[in-house]
Amino acid sequence: MRYSLFSVLGQALRGQRDWKPQWRDAAPKAEYDVVIVGGGGHGLATAYYLAKEHGITNVAVLEKSHVGSGNVGRNTTIVRSNYGLPGNIPFYEHSMKLWEGLEQDINYNAMVSQRGVLNLYHSDAQRDAYARRGNAMRMAGIDAELLDREGVRAMVPFIDFDNARFPVKGGLLQRRGGTVRHDAVAWGYARAASDRGVDIIQNCAVTGIRRENGRVTGVETSRGFIGAKKVGLSVAGSSSLLAAMVDMRLPIESHVLQAFVSEGVKPLIDCVMTFGAGHFYVSQSDKGGLVFGGDIDGYNSYAQRGNLHTIEDVMEGGMALWPGLGRLRLLRHWGGIMDMSMDGSPIIDRTDIGGLYLNAGWCYGGFKATPAAGFCFAHTIARDEPHPHSAAYRLDRFATGHLIDEKGMGAQPNLH
């Protein structure tokens, strides 16, 4: 049933009786043209765009748990395209454009909310670095504004301008940035892909990747062998584990990133704001909770939870920036497994194994990339060549030196 005000009102009168499952809970077929491993945002989007853009509908998405059970449902919902390096800029802007038309495209309200993303700066050097980035964005046709202190004050008058250890001097603002209701992205893509014939197979864990003559032939799963002409890996923090099944080592470490939500309160902040002198960024959800985060815990982990030290670090950043947070209460904190790459940028590429494709290394930026990652990964799988927007995300760039290191932290994943 198409979603609209009319269908909602109609069902209100009918006791909501006629709604159907939003996606088919499919059982695996013997073989598919493409098997996507990972039923998160990226995997589902990839399946959707394979069907929509390339007419490839004999596709299965294999999910070891349930749809959206990984990072797509554990992030802080921020979308933006305020990157500074030419390898990243076109890709993230492509993603932003897809966000802007997503809801009409997939007929699902994912609450794309372009409330603005404001990165604060606290020194002249930081201002200049932001100017460099903002100028690069502008040269690519992306909106970016460099605000001075008063410009920031007009947006967020409640932050500490008077007694701060690192006084706020201004900010880089991307007004088109904002937030998206994360779960809805997974569900919306699942529904849209399912409607186009994609099989979404939940509770189906991949345990092996079968190869013959240097080409994949399918995957072993907890629900039996599933044949596939092509296999796309889109499993974020589990990328190295899947790669190990074909004896590949990746330039990736899995790290835990914690995220936080406060109790719901009436509207306080109307943009996404990041502290430039500590680890803290914040926005407010439509439900009223402040959603915030900071830095990764900094050690390899598959445990989906972090430790107290990082929590305190994030809260200190919050209080330093916004002293009015003191009496607000933290409601929940949780962790996700980040596929931290060696230069902080992702990989969307073929591998040396025929028919095996990799979408990984998203660090903590994977959510905002969901539409474009799906779009470009689908292109790579369908056409066997990179999409121009993801052309820089090659697996061999670490050997050639074509690194995309926005932060300049080098080959240390926990510093990106």
Binding site: Y3, S4, V8, Q16, R17, P21, S65, H66, G68, S69, P90, E103, Q104, N107, N109, M111, S113, A125, D128, A131, F158, D160, A164, R165, F166, G188, Q202, E263, G264, V265, K266, L268, A277, G278, D286, K287, G288, R305, L308, I311, E312, M315, E316, G317, M319, A320, P323, G324, L325, G326, R327, L328, L330, L331, R332, H333, G401, K407, G410, A411
Partner: protein, 1011 residues
């Protein structure tokens, strides 16, 4: 207020009771202090309670039952519980900057002058305009918003979303700087006891008596747990007296620390726990020098989880009506607070302990309207007891609906024969079994397991070192709580090496916990709520099932069940049970309930503690700090350092004027700059030189004793890590400097190389950054000034102490010092290091000695201007993205040795001649200002990513050249001197034509510093 007034005569108030009458207060009993009246207000209404009350009990005592409005439908809500699981009774506590939204009335201790306000209603609690939402509830089903608000697209952000946001959220945050303070504290113990009820007290006693270090935390302000709420006997004492006795003994044990008002909110790895103590929340304002809250980091070898259990509500139509309460809560209000929540209470039970409510009400002299037991067989004794209390007993019946508007006025009961009875009552106590508090043991990703005997989840595999006792472990009787607590407390102490004696378990009066859960009432009348706070009804769970959201996580996220501020303490299992019924599975097959920290919400300020405002991070002060403060220096944050940035003089109106004067003074006369912030690493040992060769990219084999050399450090990936100097003070004694920003990183890197890469090298390394105050004395008269400072036996002539000389000297008549002839400014310059304690003296002495030469202090800004004039790379260029070649330093790389970064810097993309390289830029029109961050474009090129040729890294107004100059990275820059390009800076509206030039703007031959 529309609350019902009591219609039965309450017993005569006792004379010693202070304050005005409280209509629902019993005549006697309870653990409140009736002689200490506490005045408070709720929505402006003046009320009085007693010391020992919570806001909730005081409201009930005054007959206030409508306390809040629900999140979505704005339905009237009252108190469901008497504890931290409360989903409904959330209020704004206090006012002004201290306003705390979403405060559970059940946990707010009453204090004199307390001000509470209801929230999420307009214009008032009784008349709430948005209660119209309740009429639209057929539309507002779970997830309806995912299906609409999409057309037209533009209206989402302009209309729909602002509307939703205004309606959402519960209370209003103060959003003013928090006037109170918070602090942290650490405590280590052998045995941590979580919960101060019968199991916890027993565990603490058993462990404490053994001499083990014990910490007991409880969220309540009074220890005793359910012992305070039930009429029980232990060894002939009342439960509360037994608890008081236990507490007294624990207080007498020197190694036991009791932390009431302290919530253990999180369990972390390896025996680390987080707890928050509400030090001052029971006061109007914190006492002088006391924090509002204290965050405890507890490290425990063993933990006994004795956090009790939470009672389950029944799911029936209108079960959210104010007056419908958990039976255990009714007993708490009655027995602990001396409040009978209603004049006509009824009881709806599926368990034997529900009947205790009847007995307790009767014992307090109250009457009971009805007892509905969903089980068909009611023992005769219970029936008689209830009938004696005036109750109509309905066995095998179910409450299917409620009546009333803002408060309960009656219930609809379907009896065993299917007939519907209407029973007037103003309170309904629900008893549907108890859920052990499995929250804390699931924080470490462990799943609870289903225990069929009690129809509840109990802890599964517990975190290492943790055991569960009493109700938290599923042992629901008092006797079991006392026994398991004592036994596990003793075992915990023993496993820490203490000899614990197991005293006999105390005797208790008999009890029955027999229970047949009623997961939901069939065919309810009206909305049957599962999650009260998020307004999730049983029908929403059905809808989620219909739409395929059957996995427990999907159910939760789609319906928001369990995602409110109570994290579903009273609702998660109910949701699971309905999904189990719909999918034809048993409950554990559907899933388990997993809870995330914190156990209850924790103030963000408590986590931050001391670290806010100026104390967010430490401030490091330079040795000349006192002089700088005395002399109006303006500071600049560099990492943690406060560096003097510039020193304005009277009459100077802007920073640039000051900086220009400082630069001109250095270039023409002499200046003094505090460069103590650079890292200084003392490197000694037989293999010190070998070590330095391996960590530096340029060669050091020829460095002589008494000489310094520029040092370039790469990361292993071939990019520049940092630069500095290495000075050889003796054959095997070196001192390396690192930049201010990278000092700690470089030290860690060197330790990595020494300890892990080349452990065979005999190298001793220690930071001496803090030992030495180091000052640059720069300018043509630098030698003249230093001559007056350095003790006379040291020859400072150019011949004896040439450029890049390094020496250990003395100053001020024998004070050890170090002198380096290095120059960042390009002038004749020295850096003199004195012990930091003499730093202040040396600074003043040098300024005094320099007076005749026109010396002035200069700050980081002037230093930066001069390094740009000289084309030296600094932080803006050494940004982790540049190679030595990018910085035009490729020529100094060693060819014949291995060093960190040697191999990786040769990757094709890093040696591509198209890579931007560092050069100078000057504006074609000298009046134009340059800005760092501008990108370079060919003249006439349209701005685009492909046209982008690089960017400006640093700029300065050059006092020497009287125009702006810049350094920047541009493709093939070294081959393009003289070429003009655009410096394009759209974010600041800049677009300046610049000419590429040599990066060394001043004295390119470097003659001055050699002079």
């Amino acid at each position: 207020m529309l609350d019902r007034t009591p219609t039965f005569p309450l017993p005569v108030r006792e004379a010693e009771q202070a304050g005005p009458p409280q209509p629902f207060r019993t005549a006697s009993g309870g653990l409140i202090d009736r002689r200490r009246a506490r005045d408070f207000t709720f929505d402006g209404r003046q009320l009085t309670g007693y010391h020992g009350d919570t806001l909730a009990s005081a409201l009930l005592a005054n007959g206030v039952r409508l306390v809040g409005r629900s999140f979505k439908y704005h339905r009237p809500r009252g108190l469901l519980s008497a504890g931290s699981e409360e989903p409904n009774a959330l209020v704004e506590l206090r006012t002004g900057a201290r306003r705390e939204p979403n405060t559970r009335a059940t946990m707010a201790e009453l204090y004199e002058g307390l001000e509470a306000t209801s929230q999420n209603r307009w214009p008032s609690l009784a008349v709430d305009a948005l209660s119209v939402n309740a009429l639209l509830s057929p539309v507002f089903a779970a997830g309806f918003y995912y299906k609409t608000f999409m057309w037209p697209a533009a209206l989402w952000e302009k209309l729909y979303e602002p509307m939703i946001r205004r309606a959402a959220g519960l209370g209003r945050a103060a959003n003013a700087p928090d006037p109170d303070t918070y602090e942290h504290a650490h405590v280590h113990c052998d045995v941590l006891v979580i919960g101060g009820g019968p199991a916890g007290l027993s565990a603490a006693l058993a462990a404490g008596r053994s001499g083990a270090r014990v910490v007991l935390v409880d969220e309540d302000f009074r220890l005793g747990g359910r012992l305070l709420a039930e009429r029980r006997e232990i060894d002939g004492l009342s439960g509360s007296d037994w608890a008081a006795q236990a507490v007294a003994e624990l207080e007498s044990l020197p190694e036991v620390r009791l932390l009431p008002r302290t919530t253990l909110f999180g369990v972390y790895d390896h025996g680390a726990y987080g707890a928050v103590e509400r030090v001052s929340d029971h006061l109007a304002v914190p006492a002088a020098h006391a924090p509002r809250q204290r965050l405890w980091r507890i490290v425990a070898k063993r933990a006994v989880l004795a956090a009790g259990a939470i009672e389950r509500p029944h799911i029936f139509g209108g079960n959210d009506r104010p007056g419908v309460m958990l039976a255990g809560a009714v007993r708490t209000y009655l027995n602990r607070y001396g409040v009978l929540p209603g004049a006509h209470p009824a009881v709806f039970t599926s368990s034997d302990d529900g009947w205790r409510t009847v007995a307790d009400i009767a014992a307090a002299g109250g009457r009971v309207a009805a007892v509905v037991d969903s089980r068909p067989d009611v023992p005769v004794a219970l029936r008689r007891m209830a009938e004696a209390a005036g109750a109509q007993v309905v066995a095998g019946g179910q409450v299917i609906g409620t009546r009333g508007h803002l408060a309960l006025s009656g219930i609809e009961v379907r009896d065993a024969y299917g007939s519907t009875l209407r029973i007037p009552c103003d309170t309904l106590a629900m008893a549907n079994g108890w859920n052990p508090v499995v929250h804390l043991d699931s924080h470490l990703s462990r799943r609870p397991v289903w225990e069929e005997a009690i129809h509840a989840f109990v802890p599964g595999q517990l975190p290492t070192g943790m055991v569960a006792a009493g109700a938290a472990s599923g042992r629901l009787t008092l006797a079991d709580a006392l026994e398991s607590g004592a036994r596990l407390g003793a075992e915990a102490a023993e496993s820490c090496g203490f000899a614990a004696e197991t005293a006999g378990t105390p005797r208790t009066d008999p009890e029955s916990t027999a229970h047949t859960p009623l997961w939901r009432v069939a065919k309810p009348r009206g909305k049957a709520f599962v999650d009260f706070q998020n307004d999730v009804a049983a029908s929403d769970v059905e809808l989620a099932h219909r739409e395929g959201f059957r996995a427990v996580e999907l159910l939760k996220r789609y319906t928001t069940l369990g995602m409110a501020t109570d994290q579903g303490k009273t609702s998660n299992l109910a949701g699971l049970s309905i999904m189990a019924e719909l999918t034809g599975q048993n409950i554990p097959s559907v899933g388990t309930t997993v809870f995330r920290p914190p156990f209850t919400p924790v103030a963000i300020g408590a986590f931050a503690g001391h670290h806010r405002g100026k104390e967010f991070r430490a401030s490091r002060h330079v040795p000349s700090h006192a002089w700088c403060l005395e002399n109006n220096a303006q500071f600049l944050e560099t990492g943690l350092w406060l560096r003097p940035a510039y020193f304005p003089r009277a009459g100077e109106t802007d920073w640039l004027q000051t900086v220009v004067r400082e630069v001109e003074t250095v270039r023409s006369r002499v200046g003094l700059c505090d460069v103590s912030t650079f890292g200084k690493i003392d490197i000694q040992g037989r293999d010190a030189l070998t070590f330095i060769e391996r960590v530096c990219a340029n060669p050091f084999g020829t460095l002589k004793v008494g000489r310094s050399r520029y040092a370039l450090l790469l990361r292993e990936d071939g990019f520049v890590l940092d630069d500095g100097t290495v000075s050889r003070l003796a054959e095997t004694h070196f001192v390396m400097t690192a930049s201010t920003a990278n000092a700690a990183k470089v030290m860690q890197h060197l330790e990595f190389c020494r300890q892990w890469l080349w452990p065979e090298l005999d190298v001793q390394m220690v930071s001496v950054s803090e030992q030495w105050a180091q000052y640059a004395v720069a300018g043509p008269r630098a030698r003249d000034v230093l001559r007056k400072i350095v003790d006379p036996q040291h020859d400072l002539s150019n011949e004896a102490f040439p450029f890049l000389g390094a020496a250990e000297i003395t100053v001020g008549g024998g004070i050890p010092a170090r002198l380096f002839r290095i120059s960042f400014s390009g002038e004749l310059a020295y850096e003199i290091a004195v012990p930091a304690g003499y730093g202040d003296a040396a600074w003043r002495a040098i300024l005094q000695a320099g007076l005749p030469y026109g010396i002035c202090p200069y700050g980081a800004e002037a230093l930066s201007v001069m390094r740009i004039e000289k084309g030296h790379a600094a932080g803006a260029e050494i940004n982790g993205q540049t190679t030595a070649r990018d910085l035009a330093l490729g020529g100094m790389l060693a060819k014949k040795k291995d060093y960190i970064g040697r191999v990786m810097k040769e990757r094709p993309a890093l040696t591509d001649p198209e890579r931007p390289i560092l050069v100078g830029f000057r504006p074609v029109d000298p009046s134009q200002r340059l800005r760092a961050g501008a990108h370079f474009l060919a003249l006439g090129a349209e701005p685009s990513l492909t046209a982008d040729e690089g960017y400006m890294t640093s700029v300065a107004f050059s006092p020497s050249l009287r125009h702006w100059i810049g350094l920047g990275l541009i493709r093939r820059g070294n081959e393009r001197h003289g070429e003009r390009v655009r410096a394009y800076d759209p974010v600041r509206g800049g677009d300046v034509e610049v000419e590429i030039c040599n990066a060394a703007f001043v004295d390119p031959a470097g003659e001055r510093m050699h002079g």
